[in-house]
């Protein structure tokens, strides 16, 4: 029989059926996290472990002429010293990790420099010693001879004729013809449609601007940390804080030239990642030090190392030109994006290009992106990589267009909005999107109608993120007392254990506290791509639900055995099997607990496992509204109100969905107002600490109203779309547009720090 009750319903009117999904239970890992018991990267120890530390380049760009570690090795208590020579040289090989493709060769050279140090802080050597103090002393005894080379930090400087070259054999890809000279431009990408000249010719008004952003860091509070053991037989164990234990395993195997089966990675609790822990830094060094010393090795980065040597996102220079009719209809858009990649190719300019115009239906456009290497730390993914940067430029220009035409900024977005059936600028045709509903949600807020006072301004901006699916494995194991364990391979960064347990409980029809979620090590569950790209609740959640459905099928089979009926005559509802066989009308329902208790007699343990490659993640649209007040004498900006609406598909645990939105807003506000990498003339970061790299503190922000718009994604069992990344896309422009309306001046260079604002106010004659 086709039993609709077997499967949770989906779509707009499904909520009546839901008992668990959409509620706000306490997270299953909560008690450990409020009592200090949860074990993060630095909280784990192995017997006999050594302390590992890294020697980092003091130069932004230098040839490593020689490394003499004799004195360091001779120091009592030092057990190993390694350099780039202790690692195999890899060929180019691209690996799709979940947020962006990585070249494994570059990753290996970023882990430890070979012939050249490419940025200040680039790892050059590492030591393992019996104490932190001895390790520090050993670092000081390593004598590295450098030939200092000219360096380049800013993206346009790196593109300029005659700029110092980081990789002398790098020729720009993506051009019509291979260039005859190498350059720092790794790649040019282009997305275009329609007749651009005709589009601009048809425009009544044109707005244009140059926009810049600075490199910013993910700013997770937990520094990178790992403990690694390389046993005498070559088998390795790694404990580390990352966004993906399988990612760590794959990359370590590649960088060290090992077989994957020799490496087991156990995920620690992760103290924030935001994309920055989708790559490896310490793990291969710790493994190599363990191999050389014969001891487990523990390594923890200092905050300064985190800033100097781990991935920020790109600084960028952008040009935007928009043409529109008097009624606001866009006729053409020309967008040029130049993104810093750091020391190796791979800036998120591709995603920045694809998302730049994703909210708009424009007949003619051209988006050109440049991926540019610079003598700065290799960028890593940062929450919707690339999208906040291009959105800052496009949404600033859209606000100028709204001002120029005297059109309400929400109405201007509505007029040009993508809908279901619109072919997106980046290619696919949108389906089941909730963009105009999200615009309307912001228009409906009380915030939108609140009067503004003197020196205050209100800005709005929109943002887009694809969200991804990808490979995941999940298992649902029924315990003999009828409770369940859900096992996945995705580290829980922001409450995903709760959503996994909730989806399993909903599907099985049991209470959520009867389901305990586990994040397993790489030997205990099948492969899963990392936690990133806003994929976990969607893709891993889908694997959990399918596993639970397999369990239900098995539970029905067991009930049929117990009742001696055909399995087609068993229905699963509310956590019990119901007998539909008219001949056995007296049979009472069998609860999951009752079936589990008899499992030994009906065929053994009841489990379900699913591995899948999920497709059809619904894209996310975010619409933000921000009020600011400017102190005209000091240039200080206060964020007064902030509302953020987003199409989330279906919120599994609404509190953690709101939390994702609020957190994304806070990071975006920091990016807009105060966060930036500041480099001195030698290419050294001047503010490598939380004192002068100024992330927002509690008193900097108001309450952040998160508005959940639910337009279900039919590809997910409960309608979920990814939610974690879209919220960081609009804030840069939302804040800048609010400042524009408060001051009357367009500020196109982030961050909007007080000195810059006072300077433009002075120039304006205010």
């Amino acid at each position: 029989m086709s039993d609709v009750l077997d499967r949770p319903d989906i779509g707009h009117n499904a909520d009546d059926h839901l008992k668990v999904v959409g509620t706000r239970p306490i997270r299953p890992d909560g008690a450990d996290k409020v009592t200090g018991r949860a074990a993060y990267g630095a909280d784990f120890n192995m017997p006999g472990q050594l302390v590992g530390k890294v020697l980092r380049s003091p130069h932004a760009h230098a040839r490593i002429v020689s490394i003499d570690a004799k004195k360091a090795r001779a120091l009592p208590g030092v057990k190993a010293v390694i350099t780039g020579a202790d690692f195999p040289n890899l060929a180019d090989e691209f690996h799709e990790g979940g947020e962006a493709a990585s070249n494994l060769r570059d990753m290996a050279m970023n882990v430890i420099a070979r012939d050249k140090a490419l940025y200040h802080g680039h790892a050059v050597a590492a030591v393992a010693a019996i104490s932190s103090a001895i390790a520090d002393e050993a670092l000081a005894l390593i004598n590295v001879t450098y030939e200092v080379l000219p360096h380049v930090v800013e993206v346009e400087d790196a593109m300029a004729e005659g700029a110092p070259l980081l990789h002398p054999r790098m020729f720009t890809e993506g051009l019509e013809a291979k260039p005859d000279k190498p350059s720092n431009v790794a790649k040019r990408n282009r997305i275009a449609r329609g007749d651009l000249d005709a589009g601009f010719a048809a425009a009544d008004v044109i707005v244009e601007g140059r926009y810049t952003t600075k490199a910013t860091h993910q700013g997770y509070i937990e520094p990178h940390a790992t403990v690694a053991s390389w046993a005498a037989d070559g088998q390795c164990n790694v404990w580390s804080s990352s966004q993906g234990q399988f990612m760590v395993r794959t990359y370590c195997a590649k960088v060290l030239g090992k077989e994957i089966s020799d490496i087991r990675v156990t995920p620690a609790e992760i103290g924030g990642g935001f994309g920055g822990k989708t790559v490896i830094y310490l793990e291969p060094l710790a493994l190599a030090l363990s191999r050389e010393s014969g001891h487990p090795v523990k390594m923890i980065m200092s905050r300064e190392e985190v800033f100097r040597a781990t991935g920020p996102t790109s600084g960028a220079v952008m040009h935007v030109r928009l043409g529109a009719k008097k009624d606001g209809t866009l006729t053409a858009a020309d967008v040029e994006l130049k993104y810093q990649a750091g020391a190796f190719p791979g800036s998120p300019v591709g995603a920045g290009s694809m998302t730049a115009l994703a909210c708009y239906d424009i007949p003619a456009f051209r988006i050109t992106g440049y991926d540019v290497v610079t003598n700065t730390p290799k960028v890593a993914a940062y929450r919707a990589p690339g999208a906040p940067i291009s959105a800052f430029a496009v949404e600033s220009a859209m606000d100028d267009l709204a001002l120029k035409l005297g059109i309400d900024p929400i109405a201007l977005r509505e007029k040009n909005a993508v809908h279901n059936g619109t072919k997106a600028a980046y290619g696919p045709t949108f389906q089941n999107i909730g963009y105009v509903e999200t615009l309307q949600a912001i228009r409906d807020t009380e915030h939108y109608r609140t009067p503004l006072g003197p020196n205050q301004g209100r800005g709005m901006a929109v943002g887009f993120w694809f969200n991804v699916g990808g490979e995941s494995t999940a298992a649902v194991n029924i315990n003999e007392d009828g409770t369940a364990v859900v096992v996945t391979g995705n580290p829980d960064i922001g409450g995903s254990r709760a959503s996994m347990a909730m989806m399993a409980a909903e599907t099985l029809g049991i209470a959520v506290d009867k389901v305990r979620p586990m994040v397993a090590d790489t030997a205990s569950i099948g492969f899963s791509m990392l936690t990133g790209g806003s994929r976990t609740t969607f893709a891993t959640g889908m694997a959990v639900v399918q596993s639970a459905e397999k369990v239900i099928a098995e539970l029905k089979r067991r009930a049929a055995l117990i009742w001696d009926v055909n399995v087609d005559h068993v229905m699963w509802k509310d956590g019990s099997a119901w007998c539909l066989d008219p001949a056995k009308a007296d049979e009472k329902p069998l609860s999951l607990e009752a079936i589990a208790g008899q499992s030994a007699r009906t065929g053994g343990p009841i489990t379900g496992q699913t591995s899948l490659n999920a497709q059809g993640a619904g894209p996310g649209f975010a619409v933000h509204l921000c009020d600011v007040e400017i102190d005209p004498e000091t240039g200080h900006v206060t964020v007064l109100r902030y509302s953020a609406a987003q199409d989330v598909g279906k919120a599994i645990h609404p509190a953690y969905v709101e939390g994702q939105i609020q957190g994304g807003v806070a990071q975006g506000v920091g990016w807009a107002l105060n966060e930036e990498y500041i480099f001195d003339r030698d290419g050294h970061m001047e503010n490598a600490g939380f004192l002068d790299y100024r992330v927002p503190v509690a008193s900097d922000l108001p309450m952040i109203d998160a508005i959940l718009v639910e337009v279900a994604n039919p590809r997910h069992p409960f309608g979920a779309k990814g939610v974690g990344e879209a919220p960081i896309v609009p804030p840069l422009a939302a804040v800048a547009n609010a400042v524009r309306r408060a001051t009357g001046v367009r500020m196109a260079d982030l961050p909007l720090s007080p000195p810059k604002i006072r300077a433009v106010l002075d120039a304006k004659g205010g």
């Binding site: 103090a133 001895i134 002393e137 300064e304 004498e633 000091t634 240039g635 200080h636 107002l673 105060n674 500041i678 001047e686 503010n687 004192l691 002068d692 100024r694 927002p696 503190v697 008193s699 900097d700 720090s753 007080p754 000195p755 006072r758 300077a759 002075d762």
Partner: protein
């Protein structure tokens, strides 16, 4: 390898002896020293913790004024009602140093002797005409607060000397002070500029005495007599405020760095001086 030692003397004399050793550094709250130690910017052989010296933590009233022990944290100062009433500007400056956590440790004496040009409490102490009791091998001397810092990170203290106490003078009626600073965020930053104003009014609200201290606009915190004179004889009218702003700006000799440009710092010093003056005037009972 560093042979760092930790000593916690209980009398000033013991502390002087301990500080006589080569490489000895006094520690009050430790909120600057331990950061420098970790960053390798200082490598002392001995840390002499002043917190266990009798009287080092606490405030006593003496001859109408206040004597503040060198190891007294900002949190303790903020809880001393009489002190807050008499010197609200000095205490608000002390309480702006760092976070709540830092307030549990950081001290006026430490803030002074760390000799940062941007120290929040120093302009306020200078404007308050505070003095320091310095003890050392040569005995005890009392000097104005502004005599301590000579350059960024440098003090006039001789080897073995340390600040034992800070003294705030008695307050006449109709007197008050205020301190303001500008930081990019709302908390946790180092001042881009800071201004303290200390005023005494007569019964009619005319300013009879005014002292202005500026921070983060020169190699050391400044006492700006011209800025004080700009206010004396006025009821803080617009003209007086304009004179104050101009005098404050004229005294600035800032650098441009990651925290702000010289031009911005100068402008802000004038803005903050005006605003601090208005607050101090109101606190002193003047009709704003």
């Amino acid at each position: 390898m560093s042979q760092l030692d930790y000593l916690a003397p209980v009398t000033p004399e013991e502390a002087v002896r301990a500080l006589g050793a080569a490489g000895a550094r006094p520690m009050a709250g430790g909120t600057d020293l331990l950061v420098q130690l970790r960053a390798g910017r200082t490598r002392p052989d001995v840390i002499v913790d002043l917190k266990r010296i009798a009287g080092a933590i606490g405030v006593r009233q003496e001859a109408g004024g206040f004597v503040i022990g060198a190891a007294t944290s900002g949190a303790v100062l903020g809880e001393h009602e009489a002190l807050v009433k008499a010197w609200p500007g000095v205490i608000e400056a002390a309480n702006l140093i760092g976070s709540t956590q830092v307030q549990g440790r950081a001290t006026l004496a430490g803030n002074l002797c760390n000799a940062s040009p941007a120290a929040d409490s120093v302009p306020a102490m200078i404007a308050a005409r505070a003095t320091c009791v310095v003890v050392g091998p040569g005995g005890r001397r009392e000097v104005p607060v502004e005599a301590i810092c000579t350059a960024p990170g440098k003090t006039s203290l001789s080897p073995g000397e340390f600040v034992l106490e800070i003294k705030l003078p008695p307050r006449p009626a109709r007197a008050s002070d205020a301190y303001l600073r500008l930081i990019p965020r709302t908390e946790m930053d180092i001042a881009v500029a800071g201004a303290a104003v200390n005023l005494v009014l007569d019964a009619q609200g005319v300013i009879t005495e005014a002292h202005v201290g500026l921070g983060a606009v020169a190699p050391t915190a400044l006492l700006v007599p011209e800025a004080g004179q700009a206010l004396v004889g006025s009821k803080l009218d617009e003209a007086a405020l304009a004179r104050l702003d101009a005098a404050a700006r004229a005294a600035c000799r800032p650098i441009s760095d990651k925290r702000g440009t010289a031009e911005y710092r100068t402008k802000i010093a004038g803005v903050l001086a005006r605003r601090a003056a208005a607050i101090a005037y109101k606190r002193a009972g003047g009709a704003a």
